[in-house]
């Protein structure tokens, strides 16, 4: 991201207090992601939403999340592609269409590595696409790399 697009008075912020939003419907994957973050020593709070509609309600502070401050965005969204109701591609599209969430880092973490899904996700402006490895040690390694990059190394834009 070019830094000259940022406001001049911006100050680097600590993102360790900001949560990770996991959009995932499979309870096994939710549990494994929790364990993997634990093993990778990533302490950010993990908020889980179970389908695309709930993800958008959460991000835009609507419906069950109407009381939430929509300006308080997660540091990163981990998005599964195959979700009930509103699927991952539509969630991604809605995030990119809204000025508030346009530059929110979104990492697709899915089981599929079909070239079609990868293409479609990048066309919709995903920041990163990761196929969840079957092997658990490699899954923990992948989660750790994602956490290190997006929560520690990457400098986020002010206000998400």
């Amino acid at each position: 991201m070019p830094t000259d697009t940022l406001p001049a008075d911006r100050t680097p912020r600590d993102t360790s207090h900001r949560e990770i939003l996991l959009v995932e419907d499979n309870p096994d994957d939710i549990e494994l992601t929790r364990i993997a973050f634990g093993e990778a020593k990533i302490a950010n709070e993990l908020t889980v939403v179970h389908d695309g509609a709930e993800a958008l309600d959460y991000l835009f502070a609507r419906g069950a999340y109407a009381g939430r401050d929509p300006h308080h965005l997660p540091s990163i969204v981990l998005l599964d592609l195959n979700l009930p109701k509103v699927d991952g591609r539509e969630v991604l599209q809605a995030i990119r269409d809204n000025p508030l969430t346009r530059s929110l880092p979104v990492v697709v973490m899915t089981t599929s590595a079909e070239p079609f899904d990868v293409e479609a996700s990048y066309a919709l402006g995903v920041n990163s696409y990761i196929q969840k490895p079957v092997d658990f040690e490699r899954f923990v390694w992948a989660v750790k790399q994602v956490g290190l990059y997006w929560l520690v190394l990457n400098q986020p834009r002010e206000g998400g």
């Binding site: 096994d28 494994l32 599929s112 079957v134 658990f136």
Partner: protein, 268 residues
Amino acid sequence: MLSTLVWGLDDPSMSDARVPEFSIDDVAALQRQLDACRAELAALRQEQATFAHGISHDLRAPLRAIESFAALAAADAGLAAGTRGHIERVRAAATRMSGLIEALLEYSRAGRAALDPDWVDLGLLVEWAGAELREADPSREATIDVDPGLRVRGDAHLLKVLVQQLLDNAWKFSRTRDCVWIRVSGARAGARMHVAVRDAGCGFDMRYAEKMLQPFQRLHGPEQGGGHGLGLAIAQRIVARHGGQLRAHALAEGGSEFRFDLEAAPGG
């Protein structure tokens, strides 16, 4: 094509015995048949894509749960040796199934992916695939020789998979030898480049030379290096998509040779 036919029927010069007599109704019936075939083909393609997607996602997700929770269970220090052994078997089976699903998807992709033809240096692909095999199995000593100037026209991604499958096959069936020896050579004949991938591995019975290129046909058990039985079928499919043929030859001195042909680059 059908419109030309209709045109021809109206043209007096075409109305001799060589032109079959078709009524407008016949042509309309043929057109309907053709439309029905096209619709059926489109539906089959769609079904194949849905199936591949189902395998890719819906089958791998529970497999990941099996492997991961078995890994977590195996990490329990208090396990009895027998139980630990059983859990390791569950993990190994999950890993094998994951490899099989990957190969099935590769086989499906090799058949339906749109070709993106480009000029490709097969020698580079051999070095690349060879480096990956060395990295995956660093304890094996290996010599991989390739002729210079093996320039062909084809889809770079699919040709990489082709080279990968043939080298992987040569590597696997060299496990009874002290070291892996692979030689990739090529000769131009007219517009085609004829390529041979030769190994000094355990070879095979020539009676099965055609059968072994079909999916799920295995000539060797796992202890001899046998895998999921899809590697050569994937290779065969990629060569066929490029208008060539893959053939397997057992060598008299032991080992195997796989020959295939691709469009040669001009002047290559």
